[in-house]
């Protein structure tokens, strides 16, 4: 089932600002996310990602600025907005003494959803057969998958995922990534905060780099790499006495062709491959700091 689109962006943030005392956690940020788009919100810990999610989902009112979701002002109609969004939190905040099914049924009732099939949701996140177990006995990955299932209980038009795969085993992380792709195919808008650049590169239509509360760059991963990255050819050649040595040739320059010709004519090339900059390289290039801080 795909969703019908409404005119205008799914998410519009206008000059959002939030302060914790003297510290400005989110500093006058503006952006839009189109319906059905997956936006990656990338930045190190403390960059302002979670605070932005809190403002967009109506958990915290901004000190200034405005957030609009599906055309509705979040501050004026939080209940109306929250009925149409799903939020998966950074921390595990399930009712651990209840079963997975009880958790999902509770939230379905709070959303007023009568036709939800919690078993089907559990199947989607690979927890079928474990629905009657108390959540306290789940692994971290299982809890995280249940959190994603809970975020889907009201069939949201916009899905907020705050670091959904952080610290997960590869199987759980892959299950969540697959689910994000399925939701995107259904037409759901996804706002994904992460500091996993490979994940962002794979899942997101566009990525925003947030650093010290400000958006440092916002574009498609391809455009960012084109604009800020450097394409290279990296080769290993056999040096004197048979030792392997490394050679790098920058692509897209006037001298590239001549340098490549010289490489093959004067050296014995063992391996050769092209490389493009990763999002992490670009983040460091733009912000001057790494992602895992």
């Amino acid at each position: 089932m795909t969703l019908t689109h409404t005119p205008g962006p799914a998410i519009a943030a206008e000059h959002l600002t939030y302060r914790y005392g003297e510290l400005t956690a989110v500093d006058d940020i503006s952006f839009t996310v189109a319906e059905g788009e997956v936006l990656g919100f990338l930045g190190p810990n403390g960059a302002g990602k979670t605070t932005t999610v809190k403002m967009l989902t109506g958990q915290t009112p901004p000190h200034s600025g405005r957030a609009t979701l599906l055309g509705a002002d979040v501050a004026r109609d939080p209940a109306g907005v929250q009925a149409r969004i799903g939020v998966c939190f950074e921390i595990t905040n399930l009712y651990e003494q209840m079963t997975a099914l009880e958790n999902l049924r509770l939230f379905a009732r709070l959303f007023g959803m009568r036709d939800v099939d919690p078993e089907a949701l559990l199947r989607r996140v690979g927890l079928d057969g474990r629905g009657s177990d108390r959540v306290a006995g789940y692994s971290k990955g299982m809890k995280q998958r249940l959190m994603v299932a809970r975020a889907l209980v009201n069939r949201p038009r916009i899905l907020f995922l705050d670091e959904p795969t952080e610290g997960l085993d590869p199987v759980s992380a892959e299950a969540i990534r697959t689910l994000v792709q399925e939701e995107r195919e259904r037409g759901v808008t996804v706002f994904l905060t992460t500091h996993d650049m490979l994940e962002a590169d794979r899942l997101c239509d566009r990525v925003a780099f947030i650093n010290r509360g400000r958006i440092a760059a916002l574009d498609t991963p391809h455009n960012l790499k084109q604009r800020y990255g450097q394409r290279l050819v990296r080769a290993q050649v056999e040096g004197p006495e048979g030792r392997l040595e490394s050679r790098e040739i920058t692509l897209d320059t006037a001298a590239t062709a001549a340098e490549l010709q010289a490489l093959f004519s004067s050296e014995r090339v063992v391996t050769i491959h092209s490389e493009e900059a990763s999002l992490e390289d670009i983040f460091i290039h733009i912000t001057g700091r790494g992602l895992v801080v």
Binding site: T60, V87, T92, Y95, E102
Partner: protein, 353 residues
């Protein structure tokens, strides 16, 4: 208010409450224990004053008719040693030992020495009473009657012969114990929910904060009121003016719920809530000891909110007091509850976002 959301939240809270083995156990066992304690205690008050006496035979003849005085039972003994043993064993409140020549010396205008035996924990009033009794006996024995006429006037209901037994005086204490156990349970439930962030997940559904507080208040009432009412029913506390007793318990439940909001606003889990809750429990139980031991406290005890519930339950359940006598207590308690709710909700709300 969203009724579906409220019922879903109450069902969730009750489920979580009874999945906490400690609170489930204490709730069920506590109720059984309170009822057993109540019925194990004596149902009446022994108002007889027992005194031991060693008197020489001529004086004994004078006292013989007093032996039958209502409310006073005299135990005559043959020796000082026997009298001392009676006092030490607690068989009599005190002992009076007249010397063998007491009557002769009194009639001769001399001053015999009469010994009073008292247990080490005897109240000063008992000592004074025995001294007065000895003086009265001496006058009688010396042949000089006391020329007074005694007029008795009872202020309030005459409880002679129908004193409120201790077990009935305990009813307010038992009610406060039910209230406080459930308060601790509710507070730790909320504190853990806030600390784990589960409340944040609730508040990104359509649920409003006001609905959440309404659900918590109703959960508290569901946990406390039926249990307190059942306790009163099983102990006979609802035999006189049950509606008034239930209203007092309802207001007491609201006090407990507001207190649980305050405790949850500073606690993180069951242990930290216990740390704050036990001193609060003791404080709220103090007024009930004033009911159990009249005169134990002075006016300051009225500053404790539970005083108004305890006093109302005591006066209505044990003396059949009516609206006219307890409305002021109920009104004050309602006012205190309003204040506690404002404080509790404000304090807890700060932790929700």
């Amino acid at each position: 208010m969203n009724r579906t959301a409220i019922t879903a939240l109450i069902a969730k809270d009750l489920r979580l409450f009874f999945r906490n083995r400690f609170f489930a156990f204490v709730t069920v066992l506590g109720l059984v224990f309170y009822v057993i304690v109540y019925w194990a205690m004596p149902a009446s008050v022994d108002e007889t004053l027992r005194l031991g006496m060693r008197v020489p035979p001529p004086l004994r003849a004078l006292l013989a008719e007093d032996e039958e005085v209502e409310g006073v039972q005299l135990q005559f003994v043959a020796s000082d040693e026997e009298l001392q043993q009676y006092v030490v064993n607690g068989d009599v409140l005190g002992g009076i030992a007249f010397p063998d020549d007491a009557l002769e010396r009194l009639r001769a205008g001399e001053t015999p020495t009469v010994t009073i035996y008292l247990a080490s924990d005897a109240e000063p009033e008992v000592r004074e009473m025995l001294v007065v009794l000895v003086e009265a006996l001496a006058l009688t024995a010396s042949g000089v009657p006391l020329d007074v006429r005694v007029h008795e006037e009872i202020l309030g209901p005459d409880l002679a012969g129908s004193q409120v037994p201790s077990r009935d005086r305990m009813l307010p204490l038992l009610a406060v114990m039910v209230l406080m156990v459930e308060t601790l349970g509710l507070a730790s439930l909320i504190a853990e929910e806030v600390h784990s962030g589960a409340v944040r997940a609730l508040l990104v559904t359509r649920l409003r904060v006001s609905t959440l507080f309404a659900a918590k208040t109703l959960t508290g009432i569901v946990l406390i009121l039926p249990q307190a009412a059942l306790l009163m029913l099983l102990t006979g506390g609802l035999s006189r003016r049950p509606l008034l007793v239930l209203i007092a318990l309802f207001l007491g439940a609201l006090t407990a719920i507001a207190t649980s909001f305050l405790m949850a606003s500073v606690g993180r889990d069951m242990l930290s809530v216990m740390g704050i809750g036990i001193p609060t429990f003791i404080l709220l139980a103090l007024p009930t000891f004033g009911v159990l031991f009249p005169g134990a406290f002075t006016g300051w005890v009225r500053l404790i909110p539970s005083y108004y519930m305890a006093e109302t339950v005591h006066r209505v359940a044990n003396f059949g007091a009516g609206w006219g006598e307890v409305w002021a207590n109920l009104a004050i308690l309602a006012g205190i509850n309003a204040l506690l709710f404002i404080l509790g909700i404000a304090a807890l709300r700060r932790r929700l976002v």
